[in-house]
């Protein structure tokens, strides 16, 4: 079970308090009627589905109720950072900084378990 930091509550909480809400940064077009059928199809159905870094939405359903965004690795499931809805997609540097400080918070980084 993952631990997820809610950027509104500013606290780490167990996964059972949260619900997943799909890929992030897919804004609803201001005027859908201006989109071609293909563009509208892409908005509706086409997602990046990456192996690795994924920008995604979560909701602190059983907490503050807010939707927020997260950067998570789909291979390790690890969260690099979470941030409030409406803030722009963070860049590489910002993500690296955030995950480094998170790692420092949890005392030590990943250990090599070689004998």
């Amino acid at each position: 079970m993952l631990l997820i930091r809610c950027p509104y509550c500013e606290a780490e909480r167990p996964e059972v308090e949260f619900t997943y809400a799909g890929e992030a940064h897919i804004a609803r077009p201001a005027d859908p009627s201006a989109l071609s059928d293909d563009e509208w199809r892409d908005f509706l159905f086409i997602r990046t589905n990456p192996r690795g870094r994924h920008f995604e939405r979560w909701r602190h359903m059983h907490g503050c109720g807010r939707f927020f965004n997260a950067v998570r690795d789909t291979v390790t499931d690890k969260f690099a950072m979470t941030y409030k809805a409406g803030t722009p997609r963070p860049g590489d540097e910002e993500i690296a900084l955030a995950s480094a400080s998170a790692a420092a918070d949890s005392a030590a980084s990943v250990k090599d378990a070689r004998p």
């Binding site: 079970m1 005027d31 509706l44 109720g65 939707f67 250990k111 378990a113 070689r114 004998p115």
Partner: protein, 999 residues
């Protein structure tokens, strides 16, 4: 009865003799015995039949990895469990156990004919045999497989036990209480960190329990252990959990522990849970799971009496039991020599030690000579004999060139084998930690980890007591340091520990045809070496495919004994090195775990919340039958004496149409939408136009997904310019609110709107029927109920019986109707008043079934029953509810996608059967031509179907391709009894002119 207990050996309490039974025969064991050790003490080796071939099987191990000795255990008072591992089950007074997978008896088993037919059951036999002919599947294969499937008998009665669960947090979790785990826990405990130490056995110690003569820091092992236990007990920051298995290692150091609390007790204290699931979040984890001994692969390695050498040593040293009188040892590892020495010193005749290695440490041979044990170095084992117990072993010399010489037969009643040791990396694997192949040790070792986790001792290939202690202490100290504590790891001096070198063998060489050798790799799933070779010959190259084709490693022991041997056989057959063949993935749980442990408290009434309305109690007292609707339980119908459901529903329907019915509609989802932008928000969410809806009026609202398909509907009242009272379907309330919140928070955060769930704040009483107004008029204050002032689809606030109300004039029946919303706490009182006052109109309580019939008669749909997430408003005949002039709403753009406008979409229509008495099955498929060949072209299905008492015939809704253009056409509905003809009609069967609504 023979007694194999040896005086002066073991840790069991001989002054506490316990009677237990196995297959109806009474035996005696000692306190501290497992069922396996107690049976062996009585000379019983044969304990079960194998899964596929029904071969007689004995006890192979002394631990939780046991693949053979699975029994049915009866702990009394309805507590029965199949497939209990005899090596784990602790004996208590009165325990009853039985063997499995045999008929009529363990010694005479009919199913053993499979053993003679083994050629038929080779690798992939399921896939090959059952391909043809097709008709054999139903009549022959399926029943045979069902009959043969599974080992034990599942209990038929409900589990009488309760189960508990608990969350826990700690600085350091240590998994495994052997030498390494104890050292780690002592270290972390001394540092002041909060520590949980769990071990699957009944007492801590691990291999120390089988190693009484080793000396640790000048103390005998068991004395040291006693002091270590006392030291841990004295630390308030340390929690020790024996009989507790770490079953799974999940993200961010979340580890599941299954603690067994009462299985070993004769009398279970009242209310005591049988097992407890610990959900531990640890800052640091130390895995000290030790290593598991590997069997050797040779013909006849599965007979009762053939056992792992380490297990024999444990039975001797820990339980004081000798596993036979005449033992032969076959090994590729030093450790088995020490088992031979211990047994010989305890008086067992060890006839020979067969070591398949070309050379062995000389001190071993010297020690064997001193005990007069014959040593056969560089020999192989090529067979065993003995039907229900091994009686002899066939051995051959192997030349340096690999040639197998002439055979010799040695009599024995126990054959002890060791193929080396496999580090237990299971939990580490759960974390997706990488594994590296260690060529010297022929084993996989933990590589790079992904969690805050360390391994220690034999679990990471550091074999031997001294190495385990030191590695454990270092890991414990480092884990504590990473958790913010500090300590200096203690040093350990160990004397008298056995040497520990060896090789991992392949399948042992033989002079006989290996294609006929019954050399088992996976004992629990009956997979032989030749099965794996056959899989390779048939083209399987990936170990994942070989595993599934042969079922090697797929039994409940997850290949703890068989994985590496299987891999070695596959590697030889593929002529590729083991790391290139790969290792299959270990998954939780580490050992079989009861469903009860996972369920915990969530069973019976606590399995799922049952939501009840404030009026539910009245319904119960008045004899309602109930049905579940999402999490709610709703009154289904109110049968009177002698009535079945059909009669009750017919009576309730008639009462509503003729006079007056009363219905608890409290479960309707309710959302209050408030704010200066409330109307704008409504415009964007719902298909309808809301701007012009006057306060005091209601409108039917239709909600789509962004894909254009119907998601929900309900009547929505505008209470004020900035306030809407939205209702949703009973099951859709939470979903709709989540969808609204999503749009409001993330797409339109600029809108000034607040959303509040008010479902449980209001009790809703529906009064339906021509006398509805007459009933409430005298009791309502502040609202003019006349049709002119308060027409159909009006809403107003006022009082009823002095209680504040939001009164809706709405109808889901087609009759004059009101929905009386009162604060939830007044719901039952108002209901009772209405019921009392309504007697003069013959007021009739009705349930959801009558509600369904009445709405269908009137052509009203139920979202989720008549729609299925693929219907557009037009498909459902609701195009009138879409605001054509609105620039945008959720789902609007999708309605003009090409497929949404296609000509032959399925449309909702009415259906009347040619035989008016036939009520179609909901879900039944519809065809145009019943005479076409199978498979027929299905054009739709029935969504709702009822008996209408009002019409004296059946009615139905269906979705049919191009349905609206087929009005009056006949379609056909194949049902189990016959094919029924039906005519496509409109959907409104009663009062199409709406005269009753505006009465």
């Amino acid at each position: 009865m023979s007694n194999f207990r040896i005086a002066g050996k073991g840790r069991v309490n001989r002054s506490r003799q316990l009677r237990f039974s196995f297959d109806g025969v009474d035996y005696t064991g000692c306190e501290g015995d497992t069922l396996a050790s107690a049976l062996l003490a009585n000379g019983v080796h044969l304990v079960g039949r194998s899964f596929k071939y029904h071969r007689p099987r004995g006890i192979l191990t002394a631990g939780s990895e046991e693949p053979n000795a699975l029994v049915g255990s009866n702990r009394g008072n309805g507590r029965f469990e199949p497939n209990t591992r005899a090596t784990v089950l602790e004996v208590f007074e009165g325990l009853k156990t039985e063997s499995q997978n045999r008929w009529p008896s363990l010694t005479r088993d009919i199913g053993a004919v499979n053993d003679a037919l083994y050629v038929l059951f080779s690798a992939g036999f399921y896939y090959k045999t059952f391909m043809w002919p097709k008709s054999f599947w139903d009549k022959v294969y399926e029943p045979v497989i069902r009959n043969a499937a599974g080992l034990g008998k599942a209990p038929t009665a409900p589990d009488p036990d309760t189960y508990a669960s608990r969350f826990a947090h700690c600085d350091v979790l240590v998994v495994g209480g052997g030498a390494a785990g104890l050292a780690a826990a002592l270290e972390a405990g001394r540092s002041g960190a909060s520590v949980i130490l769990c071990d699957e056995q009944s007492e801590l110690g691990g291999s120390l329990l089988s190693e009484p003569t080793a000396e640790i820091n000048g103390q005998l092992a068991w004395d040291w252990l006693e002091d270590a236990n006392a030291a841990l007990a004295a630390m308030p920051n340390v929690t020790v959990l024996p009989r507790t298995t770490a079953i799974g290692y999940y993200h961010q150091n979340f580890v599941g522990l299954c603690q067994r609390l009462t299985d070993h007790l004769r009398i279970v204290p009242d209310g005591a849970p049988r097992e407890r699931m610990w959900k531990v979040r640890a800052k640091q984890v130390v895995l000290a799971q030790g290593a598991i001994e590997k069997p050797l692969v040779f013909a006849g390695n599965d007979r009762p009496g053939v056992m792992l050498a380490g297990a024999a040593r444990t039975y001797l040293n820990r339980y004081g039991v000798k596993v036979g009188n005449r033992a032969v040892v076959v090994t590729s590892h030093d450790s088995a020599w020490h088992a031979a020495f211990d047994l010989a010193k305890a008086g067992v005749e060890v006839t020979a030690i067969v070591d398949v290695r070309g050379t062995v440490p000389t001190q071993l041979v010297t020690a064997a000579d001193a005990l007069r044990i014959r040593t056969l170095i560089g020999w192989t084992v090529t067979g065993t004999k003995g039907r229900l117990r091994v009686s002899s072993v066939r051995v051959n010399p192997v030349t340096a060139g690999g040639k197998v010489g002439g055979a010799e037969t040695i009599a024995c009643d126990a054959l002890l084998m060791s193929g080396g040791w496999t580090p237990s990396i299971h939990l580490f694997s759960h974390t997706q930690g990488s594994l590296t192949w260690n060529e010297d040790g022929q084993m996989f070792l933990p590589g790079r980890g992904k969690e805050e986790c360390r391994l220690a001792g034999a679990g990471k290939g550091r074999f031997g007591l001294k190495a385990a202690f030191e590695d454990g202490a270092a890991a414990g100290a480092a884990a504590a340091a990473d958790a913010g504590f500090s300590t200096q790891p203690a040093t350990y001096h160990v004397e008298g520990e056995p040497s520990f070198t060896g090789v991992t063998g392949r399948e042992l060489p033989t002079d006989l045809d290996p294609g006929h050798a019954k050399a088992f790799v996976d004992f629990q799933n009956d997979v032989m070496a030749k099965d794996i070779r056959l899989a390779v010959r048939e083209g399987f190259k990936s170990i994942e495919h070989i595993k599934r084709y042969t079922t090697n490693g797929m039994a409940t022991d997850q290949g703890k004994l068989s994985n590496i041997n299987g891999l070695a056989v596959a590697s030889d057959a593929l002529k590729r090195p083991i790391p290139a063949v790969g290792l299959t993935t270990f998954r939780p749980p580490y050992t079989p775990t009861s469903f009860g442990t996972f369920a915990g408290y969530n069973k019976g009434a606590l399995f799922e919340v049952t939501r009840k309305t404030p009026i539910d109690g009245w319904a119960e007292e008045n004899g309602a039958a109930f049905e579940p609707v999402s999490l709610w339980r709703r009154a289904w119908y109110f049968p009177q004496v002698g009535e079945d459901m059909h009669a009750a529903v017919a009576r309730e329907c008639k009462a509503v149409r003729a006079s007056l019915g009363i219905f608890d509609a409290s479960t309707l989802g309710k959302i209050e939408i408030v704010g200066p932008d409330a109307a704008e928000f409504m415009n964007r969410m719902y298909t309808n136009a809301w701007t012009k809806l006057a306060p005091g009026r209601c409108r039917y609202g239709l909600l789509l997904g962004e894909d254009g398909f119907i998601r929900d509907d309900g009547v929505i009242g505008r209470l004020a310019q900035d306030r809407f009272h939205v209702t949703t379907t009973t099951g859709g309330a939470a979903r709709v609110l989540t969808m609204m919140e999503d749009y409001l928070q993330t797409e339109w955060p600029d809108l000034k709107v607040w959303l509040t769930s008010t479902t449980e704040q209001w009790s809703v009483i529906a009064l339906q029927g021509p006398n509805a107004r007459k009933l409430i008029e005298p009791f309502v204050e502040g609202i003019d109920l006349s049709d002119g002032a308060f027409p159909h689809m009006a809403v107003a606030t006022g009082k009823i019986f002095g209680v504040p109300t939001r009164l809706f004039r709405v109808s889901f029946t087609g009759e004059l109707g009101f929905e009386i919303n009162v604060p939830a706490r007044y719901g039952r009182a108002v209901w009772e008043k209405l019921f009392e006052a309504g007697q003069r109109f013959g007021i009739t309580p009705y349930g959801t079934e009558t509600m369904h019939v009445l709405r269908a008669e009137k052509g009203y749909i139920i979202v989720g029953q008549d729609t299925d997430g693929t219907l557009t408003p037009d498909d459902a005949g609701l195009a009138w509810a879409v605001g054509k002039t609105k620039p945008d709403f959720v789902g609007k753009r999708s309605l003009s996608r090409p497929d949404m406008l296609a000509a032959n979409r399925k449309q909702l229509v009415g259906l009347l059967t040619s035989d008016p008495k036939t009520v179609l099955e909901e879900g039944a498929q519809i065809v145009l031509d019943p005479n076409q060949p199978v498979p027929m072209d299905m054009v739709g299905h029935v969504t709702s179907s009822y008996w209408s008492a009002e019409l004296g015939r059946s009615i139905a809704f269906a979705v049919i391709q191009g349905g609206r253009s087929l009005q009056g056409k006949t379609v056909h509905v194949p049902m189990p009894d016959k094919v029924h003809a039906a005519t496509i009609t409109g959907m409104v069967f009663v009062d199409p002119e709406n005269t009753r609504l505006s009465a």
